[in-house]
Symmetry: C2
Subunit: 255 residues, 2 copies
Amino acid sequence: MRLARIQGDAGPVPVVQRGDRWEAVHDLFADDLEFTGESFPVGQVTFLPPVEPRVVLGMAHNSGPTDRTQPPQAFFKSPRTVVADGDPVVLDEGIGPVSIEGELAVVIGRRARHLAPGETAAAVLGYTVGNDVTAVGQIPLDDRLLQAKSGDGFTPLGPWIETDVDPADLGITVIVNDEVVARSSSHALAWSLDEQLVYLSSHLELGPGDIVLSGAPGTGAPVAPGDEVEIRIDGVGALRNPVRTGPARAALPTP
Amino acid sequence: MRLARIQGDAGPVPVVQRGDRWEAVHDLFADDLEFTGESFPVGQVTFLPPVEPRVVLGMAHNSGPTDRTQPPQAFFKSPRTVVADGDPVVLDEGIGPVSIEGELAVVIGRRARHLAPGETAAAVLGYTVGNDVTAVGQIPLDDRLLQAKSGDGFTPLGPWIETDVDPADLGITVIVNDEVVARSSSHALAWSLDEQLVYLSSHLELGPGDIVLSGAPGTGAPVAPGDEVEIRIDGVGALRNPVRTGPARAALPTP
């Protein structure tokens, strides 16, 4: 099943795809979806971010098998960084080098805390395409990653959520200005999604709409203002975002 | 002016104190408060967290003048950690040593990005009492602080927001089991609130209801299950929370 949030005349509308229509529902997270009767033709809608997360997490050093030699670790991104398919990634003047990272994004479906290994799938609503934009030039200045990870538009998500896909081995393709710059698979992640959710839920509560960016298994690429970025995840979808220039920053306090 | 959110029969009610009544309003963040006509007697209400933040930030190494030798740095806490006056702080079995930190919490009132020095006050709605609970035993295991900072109930806030207080030199008192264990002032912070908001808004967007925990200027203290904690900030209020035991964690993935 494919779930999304689209722009309606009176605000955001949660929708489910059936054939060539997006059909409106009351709540994407309900156990039994209730349809409102409203519907929209596929191909003629404006997507919003598929969820409004309270918590956005990214897995750190989760790019390949050698990262498994360290314990799992994660970081927060501001939920205010979440934007939709088509929205710009904004690079403030002076922010330094920036990379995009194409990632399978896990959408949490219900309250999850202290999940046991092998029992995490029930907490997952589905999967969407995530772009974990990272100002890599800021990492040496701030190892806690706040400066690197939470610029405007730094977490494109979408266009929709796929609920019935097996996430174990999904191809991930990163395209910049119509050129394929990276190709890998969720299979190459150091820590499986099950392991990630056991780890995260052992330390904090997850809830409906929260996002886990599962890591970039060789799916990063440098970008600059003017670039057009596309992340494709096989069986999920394609997420496209332009990169734009933002304002210069205020004079910072210095020690 | 004193603002709060209280438990009403039909859900949360934003309120403003006038004399011996809490008077309901439509929106605490409106430029002109609109009163609904409903009111509640002071002393007979149940406080909810005074805001529902999307972003909760804490200032790192901001405990005193020597911290000014390093650039400012901050970390995220999960907004799901926010609890009200009276709610428990829950310590999972095996989490190790835990400290409370009594902190002046800044409540953001409007969208704030790239704030200039000396111009941050207009972005602030007011101030509340914050307790930045920290599992200090987790810090050596995770220098990004996710494991240390986002347990259940790890960010008590409240009971209310004071809008008309000068935050420059407010006494902070930390009381555990009716004994004063620390006493300091917001004046002892390494970075002023203005400097903090310039720093943070240069890297990310802040918005209505977001929280900045401004740092613990010698206002930390170890706690254990069974303790009763009170943080008093002169001119703002007193925030009381019990410390309780939580469940053991699931077996974690190991390298």
